[in-house]
């Protein structure tokens, strides 16, 4: 029987000097996985197979199988290939990758060496959002240590395998967390997603094959190499194996970042890890996977487990694991306005439905809260959101449309109250 609460990622959390290379080596099997792989005990193909067998899914939000993604790099191509760690963590409500950078950055670096070996990349970048200045410092320090110890650079551990790793940061934009937006930014261009196909695995950074993996995803790889896919699968569910970091915020006694197995009951996370709700507060709505995830009602939250399938069955998503507790004191209409405003501000502006749709929804919400919106505005928001979905290069348009749709469907009462008030006062636009 596996441990109830595995430590796959946050292995050095709580230790003195958790970020130090020494700590990682002494307490978290640090850099033993690359010794195993680069020492020849595991071939490139075996490594990919093991990660595929582990069922590891991308932890950035989309949940795409990691091992499968690696196989998309055309191995007939002998030119340069790139590995990028997506440490942009821009989804509102998410703060788990910065926690990894704070407590265990070396495991990300080791994961990158392994992933790079798997896809035959000799150059990698960690792309961190601008706002994480402290964490950027931790990463740069860790990279320096790893180079000094011979875990990065030319001929790592005498294996003949070269892997150079740099850190890069954009100017701070939500859309640079989308992998092709990130690549544009890394290329020195305006951070906007690229039309697909071609996909980055075939034509990414500088037009070369590129794999972009999330920080947490990469941090899983050393553990899988050391312990095997079978042991990894002892945690989590059939379709969502392993552990997951959840960044949980809101009116809780101990909000924060927690590593629990996928499939963990939501209520248990709230009660055991987070110490329950703050006194006198109760759940009004739940945002289970970042600002772009459809909201759940307290009724829908009953019996909710934290895995990809349970979320999908309720019409929402696990996303990056950003759980936001919306308690009964929050004004949902204002929350919706803030959410829409965020996406309207962050839309890169290239696809018409997103550029115009996010701004339009924001415009309507201004009217709703300001008492100038027409009485049928809620219905209008529903239609606008509907036609913004699934029609753009990246998912930002959907990310704005989904919460709007769920809000209008499940919580329209508050919006209607605003509209009724405006109608009674005669202030709405006729």
């Amino acid at each position: 029987m596996a441990q109830d609460k595995p430590r796959i990622i946050l292995r050095t959390e709580g230790l003195a000097n958790p970020r130090a290379l020494k700590t990682y080596i002494e307490h978290a099997e640090g850099y033993t996985a690359i010794k195993k792989v680069l020492g020849g005990a595991v071939t490139r193909e075996q490594l990919i197979e093991e990660v595929k067998a582990s069922g590891l899914r991308g932890r950035g939000g989309a949940g795409f199988p990691t091992g499968l993604k690696w196989t998309f790099v055309p191995q007939s191509d002998t030119g340069p290939k790139y590995l990028i760690c997506n440490n942009d963590e821009s989804e509102p409500g998410t703060f788990k990758d910065r926690h990894i950078c704070t407590v265990n950055p070396h495991q990300v670096i080791e994961g990158m060496v392994l992933a790079a070996f798997a896809i035959k990349a000799n150059k990698g970048y960690i792309y961190t959002r601008w706002e994480f200045q402290e964490e950027i410092g931790y990463l740069v320090e860790a990279i320096k240590e790893a180079y000094a110890a011979g875990f990065l650079g030319k001929n790592i551990l005498g294996s003949g395998f070269d892997f150079d790793l740099d850190h890069y940061s954009g100017a701070g934009a939500y859309i640079c967390g989308e992998e092709t937006g990130l690549i544009s930014s890394l290329e020195g261009k305006k951070g906007q997603p690229k039309v697909k196909p071609p996909f980055p695995a075939v034509s990414g950074y500088l037009g070369r094959p590129t794999i972009v993996n999330n920080t947490e995803t990469l941090a899983n790889v050393p553990w899988i190499v050391n312990h095997g896919a079978k042991e990894f699968r002892q945690y989590g569910t059939e379709k969502s194996p392993g552990s997951k970091l959840f960044s949980i915020s809101g009116a809780l006694v101990r909000p924060g970042v927690y590593e629990v197995p996928l499939g963990y009951p939501f209520e248990r996370l709230v009660q055991e890890e987070c110490g329950g709700y703050l006194p006198g507060r109760s759940l009004q709505a739940l945002i289970p996977g970042g600002a772009s995830a459809p909201l759940l009602t307290p009724e829908e939250v009953k019996g909710l487990t934290l895995d990809y399938e349970a979320m999908a069955s309720r019409g929402t998503m696990l996303g990056s694991g950003a759980i936001m507790i919306i308690d009964d004191r929050q004004v949902l209409a204002e929350l919706l306005k803030v959410t829409i405003e965020f996406f309207a501000h962050e839309s890169c502006g290239q696809c018409t439905p997103c550029r115009e749709g996010t701004g339009w929804l924001n415009n309507i919400m201004d009217g709703v809260l300001g008492g100038t919106a027409k009485p049928d505005s809620v219905e209008r928001m529903r239609t606008v959101a509907k036609h913004m979905g699934g029609k753009t290069i990246c998912a930002l348009s959907d990310a704005c449309a989904m919460p709007v749709t769920s809000y209008v469907q499940k919580f329209s009462g508050q919006l209607q109250a605003y509209l009724a008030q405006a109608a009674a006062a005669g202030s709405h636009v006729k």
């Binding site: 039309v195 196909p197 290239q350 018409t352 749709g357 415009n363 029609k391 290069i393």
Partner: protein, 504 residues
């Protein structure tokens, strides 16, 4: 099947709107649709530019795939079944257009694009008619001075990115970018920079809306009053295929636009666009001007003018007659001219009239060539056919030195490409007698020129030019001449031939 087995090009066959279509492998659904005359609505896709995939208008449904996909970036695969007409696709098109119109100012009554605007066209075709937008619009900068030929209205702009790609891919200047994000995004130049190249008006052409307007054309005419006919640009030896836009009932020309061809692709240069102006009333020579004996130069009829010329020719020895010929007339005109003068009348002094400062080898790498004549090759071939020296040279100075008693001069049609023309006309004034055939109204200012015949412009006659690489450009569908007295060389020569026949 026959198409697939012919030649070496590998093909794929797929179904578009229940119609089987075979196209070369790698063709996108959008390009295939264009090849087969199926129209899929779009703003950002342009056959001469790379794929941007941003307007999200060309959505189509592929059988057994969950989401609608954009036709411009969808490669056709064997057996694929695509629809651009299903109700869900039509609904998507309606909404794609609605999103484009949300912040569009709808100032069609004062917009030059009105009548040839894709927003208007699609509104009629797939519009929702009842707009859902009832909120204040986003306002953006208007009437921006962005280049010598251009005015930009960022509020009308739908951010299709065509202009940005044109500047990156075609002129390679990268002069334009899209700045800011979301619904605050605007197209523009970099700080303190303007667009300075010779291809600016292509931005007006490819702009599907009225964001880029032409300084030359704006506020002059509603496009639905214009008639367009195909022609060939006379501005240089590339010979871009063009459409000439005119309002024949008032004998006015308004603009030239490129017509897609193997010669010029989709583009033409700004210099070439100006080659309609000399055909307008205020610039052209509208009637013959003749000085006869002691009678001062006066306006005459064409018949009188030709009779006077024939009289002079009959009185002259053939050794006294010389032709001065610019390379801006058609192959047919040269042939009839040389048939009469060289073959029949035995005139042997034929001089080429070229601009002395021209640089024949110059080329801007895109379209514009240093030889500013549309038919240098045609003139050479006609000279050769007439048994005369045919290599390109400038015989103007030699003619002036020889000062033959009777000169027939075919003046350049596009005078602005001949910066030395005023000086050269002054020199011609000094010669005993010059019959200048020209469309250039400025020639009338040279009182010493005793015989001026008004000519037709390139859009007013039939014939062919041979461009720098001997590709044929055809003038096939002329507008009525801008002046009743205007003739082409063939007509003048035919009339002269008749007069000779009667006189002999």
């Amino acid at each position: 099947m026959s198409e697939a087995t012919q030649g070496s090009v590998e093909t794929v066959t797929f179904t578009l709107n229940d119609r089987e279509i075979t196209v070369p492998k790698g063709t996108t659904v959008m390009a295939a649709a264009r090849l087969k005359d199926v129209y899929i609505p779009h703003f950002c896709w342009h056959p001469g530019l790379k794929i941007a995939g941003v307007c999200r208008f060309c959505l189509v449904k592929v059988d057994n795939r969950p989401k609608l996909e954009i036709a411009c970036n969808l490669t056709a695969t064997p057996g694929m079944k695509v629809s651009s007409v299903l109700p869900e696709v039509k609904e998507a098109h309606k909404w794609a257009l609605e999103f484009h119109l949300v912040n569009h100012p709808l100032d069609c009554p004062i917009c030059d694009q009105a009548g040839e605007c894709k927003l208007q066209d699609y509104y009629m075709e797939v519009g929702k008619y009842k707009s859902e937008m009832d909120r204040p619009k986003v306002l953006k900068p208007k009437a921006l001075d962005i280049g010598s030929e251009l005015v930009l209205d960022t509020e009308r702009c739908i951010l299709c990115d065509r202009c940005v790609r044109f500047e990156e891919e075609v002129t390679k200047t990268g002069a334009l970018g899209i700045f800011n994000r979301g619904d605050r995004a605007v197209v523009g130049t970099y700080p303190d920079k303007k667009i300075e190249h010779n291809y600016q008006d292509n931005l007006v052409d490819i702009c599907p809306v009225g964001a880029f307007t032409s300084r030359d054309f704006r506020f002059k005419q509603r496009v639905w009053f214009l008639k367009d006919k195909p022609a060939v640009c006379p501005g240089c030896s590339t010979g871009c295929h063009v459409d000439v836009y005119a309002k024949p009932q008032v004998r006015s020309y308004f603009r030239l636009k490129p017509r897609e061809s193997a010669v010029n692709g989709f583009w033409m240069c700004d210099k070439g666009r100006n080659t309609y102006k000399h055909m307008n009333q205020e610039q052209r020579l509208r009637f013959p001007l003749v000085a006869e004996g002691s009678v001062a130069r006066r306006k005459t009829t064409v018949d009188e003018a030709l009779a006077a010329l024939v009289g002079r020719l009959l009185a002259a020895n053939k050794e006294d007659v010389a032709l001065l010929v610019s390379a801006q007339y058609t192959c047919e005109e040269y042939k009839t001219l040389f048939d009469l003068f060289v073959v029949k009348l035995g005139v042997s002094k034929v001089y080429q009239w070229r601009e002395p400062t021209e640089d024949l080898k110059a080329f801007d790498g895109l379209l514009y060539r240093g030889d500013h004549n549309p038919n240098t090759r045609g003139l050479s071939e006609a000279l050769k056919a007439a048994g005369l020296p045919s290599e390109v040279n400038n015989g103007f100075d030699e003619l002036v030195r020889q000062a033959p008693p009777l000169v027939i001069a075919l003046g350049p049609e596009v005078a602005f490409q001949f910066p030395s023309l005023p000086a050269q006309l002054k020199q011609l004034e000094q010669l005993p007698f010059v019959s200048l055939w020209t469309i250039d109204g400025a020639a009338a200012n040279y009182a010493g020129l005793k015989h001026l015949l008004p000519m037709k412009g390139f859009a007013e006659k039939r014939g062919h030019y041979l461009n720098f690489e001997a590709k044929v450009g055809e003038l096939a569908d002329p507008f009525p001449a801008g002046s009743d007295d205007a003739r082409d060389v063939t007509e003048v020569v035919a009339a002269l031939g008749d007069l000779f026949a009667h006189s002999l």
